[in-house]
């Protein structure tokens, strides 16, 4: 008992740890555990898949001698847990290994493909939010009207139409027939190499360098895939916004506000919409995270060299260093967006503090 007391009081001997520091430490520990767990599961799946990683490196024509040498070089002669330990040790030193598919460092590859995805996903989410939120609010306010029907129809199409088909049709109409937008890829052949990369996002880099002709060309390349992804975000966001708004508009406080003679605009935006912001943040964050994860089919159709197609192609080629590197990025994105959402909760809702 005395010992227990000593332990209990021992914690009080030093200066008290501030609440923010304890919370930050807890967050860091949670993030680290999440990423480690994610890495462990992905690593083990990669190792137990019925695919020989050595063949992915040396090809099917290699001799047994070359096979054995590569087997040892990849460390596959070690126990699985040792292999995982070595990998984590390397990762902690910033070494993600080399991609067997591209022959380059995984960090170099990801530094190349992630900005492309970030640029596309951000623009897609912006389109989805700018159009989806007003559409959802309007549909809720005019419930049962033709606008509501249109919003629901748009949502339904967004959910049910295969993105591959929609992408090809979009390309055919806006690029092939109308010529309103540029074709696949991030930049036209005449504009490549003009802008020295800063962030890797061509729109941002071109703007920062003041290269507006490059900016315009890059925008004409990105707008169609971004609009396509934005449409899918729009379908999700508008549907959820409508649902959240309907719940608020049926609340007694809204009736009270109206009875008190507040303008309809004030009731909708000042009261009802204000109360759905937290839920909307979650919805938008999830939509954004999904796009950041990479939209493989969109990337394939539009020859967009993004993270989704990078990870998928690597997985099919059993290029596990690339898959693991990509997994860490995606895991970090989800964790980061969750933390950001939490911070926004506190901003929008003082009770969350």
């Amino acid at each position: 008992m005395a010992d227990q007391n000593a332990n209990q009081t021992g914690g009080r001997l030093g200066p008290p740890v501030p609440l923010w520091a304890r919370k930050s430490l807890a967050t860091v520990a949670t993030v680290a555990a999440t990423l480690l767990g994610l890495l462990f599961v992905t690593f083990m799946i990669g190792r137990v898949m019925p695919i020989d990683p050595v063949l992915a490196v040396i090809g099917e024509r290699a001799t047994q001698e070359q096979y054995d040498a590569t087997f040892r070089e990849l460390g596959l002669d070690q126990p699985l847990l040792v292999q995982f330990g070595i990998y984590v040790g390397d990762v902690l030193q910033g070494e993600f290994g080399k991609s067997i598919r591209t022959g380059q460092e995984v960090t170099t590859d990801i530094a190349r493909v992630f900005p492309a995805t970030l640029e596309l996903a951000t623009l897609g989410t912006l389109i989805g939010v700018i159009l989806g939120v007003p559409l959802g609010v309007l549909a809720a306010v005019r419930r049962g009207s033709w606008i509501d029907q249109v919003a629901r129809f748009v949502g339904l199409i967004g959910y049910s139409m295969p993105i591959f088909w929609l992408g090809l049709v979009g390309l055919l109409i806006f690029y092939g027939i109308l010529g309103w937008v540029a074709g696949p890829g991030r930049l036209g052949i005449f504009y490549q190499g003009i802008v020295e990369p800063i962030t890797g996002m061509i729109l941002v880099d071109a703007a920062l360098r003041g290269e507006w002709t490059v900016f315009r060309n890059a925008f004409s390349h990105i707008i169609l895939p971004a609009a396509l992804l934005g449409y899918y975000s729009l379908a999700y966001i508008s549907r959820m916004t409508r649902s959240f708004m309907l719940e608020q508009l049926n609340s007694e406080y809204v009736t009270t506000a109206r009875v008190k003679g507040l303008s309809e605009r004030h009731v909708i935006w000042g009261h009802a919409f204000r109360n759905i912001r937290i839920q909307l943040v979650t919805v938008i964050a999830l939509a954004y995270a999904n796009l950041l994860e990479g939209s493989v089919l969109t990337e394939i159709i539009f020859a967009w060299p993004g993270l989704g197609s990078y990870i998928t192609t690597s997985l099919l080629a059993n290029d596990m260093n690339s898959v693991l590197g990509g997994t860490i990025v995606i895991g970090t994105i989800f964790v980061g967006i969750n933390i950001f959402s939490d911070l926004l909760y506190r901003f929008f809702d003082p009770r969350a503090k």
Partner: protein, 531 residues
Amino acid sequence: MKNCFVAAAVAATMIMGATAPVQADTPPNMLVIANRIDDIKTFDPAESFEFAGADVSRNVYEKLVNFDPLDLEAGYQPQLAESWEISEDGMTITFTMAEGHTFASGNPVTAKDAEFSLRRAVQLNKTPSFILTQFGFTPENVEETIVATDDKTLVLTLDKPYALSFVLNCLTATIGGIVDMETVMANEVDGDMGNAWLRTNTAGSGPYKVVDWKPSESVLMDLNPNYHGDEPAMQRVIVQHIQESATQRLQLERGDIDVARNLSPEDVAGLEGVEGVKIVDELRGRLMYFAANQKKEMLADPKVIEALKLATDYEGMSGSFLKGQYTVHQAFLPRTFLGALDETPFTFDMEAAKAALAESDHPDCGPIKISVRDAQERLDIAQSLQNTWGQLGCEIELIVGTGAQTLDRYRAREHDIYLGAWGPDYPDPNTNAGTFAFNPDNSDEAGATGLLAWRNAWDIPEMSEETLAAVVENDTDARREMYIELQREHQQVSPFGIMFQQIEQNGMGASVENFVAGGATTAVSYWVITK
């Protein structure tokens, strides 16, 4: 509220309209190609072994001997070597280097560069090294067997008197590319002989040099200012990675690219009659075949194999879903190779197939699993086999997997039937004879996973001897006859059902001339293209 939404929608539409790009064809001195290039891992000729990598290598590196793209049938021609002599015992080949060839760096090409390039290819021991080591070169003996006696003379000493054509054909492969020793060694790291640097850079004397490569995105090549030959019309070549056939077609129709290299049959058909676009067919070296594992009792019965070969609808497939992409071919050497056999002894004949099966020890057939990778054309073929072999009474199950999964089973000799493709590694008949008809040790312990005959547990000591005899026959006509006979025998007795040879259909602008994808023997040549 409503106005806000309408305004946002109108603004979005206006933005879309405002992005309208200026329509322009590609410049007359620039070639823009859409291709699937995500298989490029390296540009190092000692290591590169992928199709898209070979396309780059052929345009960047010269070799001792090489193919003239406008006359592929002429076979190897002098390039960096102006002449060669073979010793009386047939074991020493002496090359005399041609004058005037210069690397992109400005360094002259000498026999020392050739010695360095061939030696490092053997010493690095990467996957394609077998193309050279099959002549007895080893990392330990290259200093005696690959020797530049002076700047103009290179001497190769072989371990056996191989057919000269065999050796020279092998030197036209990617691994025969001659690199700039001084530049490469200046970039050596930890004794890698410049391997890491050459993965992403080039140091050749060919018409072009790579100036930018973004993996799975694009390769940009500019003229080598020191190129020895006539200046190519295309001063810049850009190859863009475009995965989708439909996307390539749209780009071609819009004039944004000059050549589309991966068009599906549907898109080829869709381009027929489109103004300003043409389709050029070219026979390539890839074969599509099925192979039966001889470890499986039923499939080791020759009559069962005969029945399966007769119950394959070759014409039906090549005339429908493979139309324009594959032509019927039933021998292990692709057409245009030395000794290629045109005969197609098997046609779809269900009655004959049933009769052959009835004569076998398994008249009721039985369960057969076909291992096939998840590629559309292969799945289509597998389904056709499932249908027609099913008519024989066999219970056909398709085991679909990724390329790696399917290959793993094949190399482990765990399949029943493997449905796959095979492309030549180098432009000599031994490239296919040495794998379809060569298996000197059929034991599991031999682990000869590189040999297709071994993968199918096909024990052929006598045929292996015949194959070996053909590589040392120095009379080219006699050698041709040996391969023809070998294939005739192979067609009848082997567990391989070779079905088709690939036709590559490239879509291109009507003004593009001299686009040669490389036929069955080599890769694409950009330097002769005009438009």
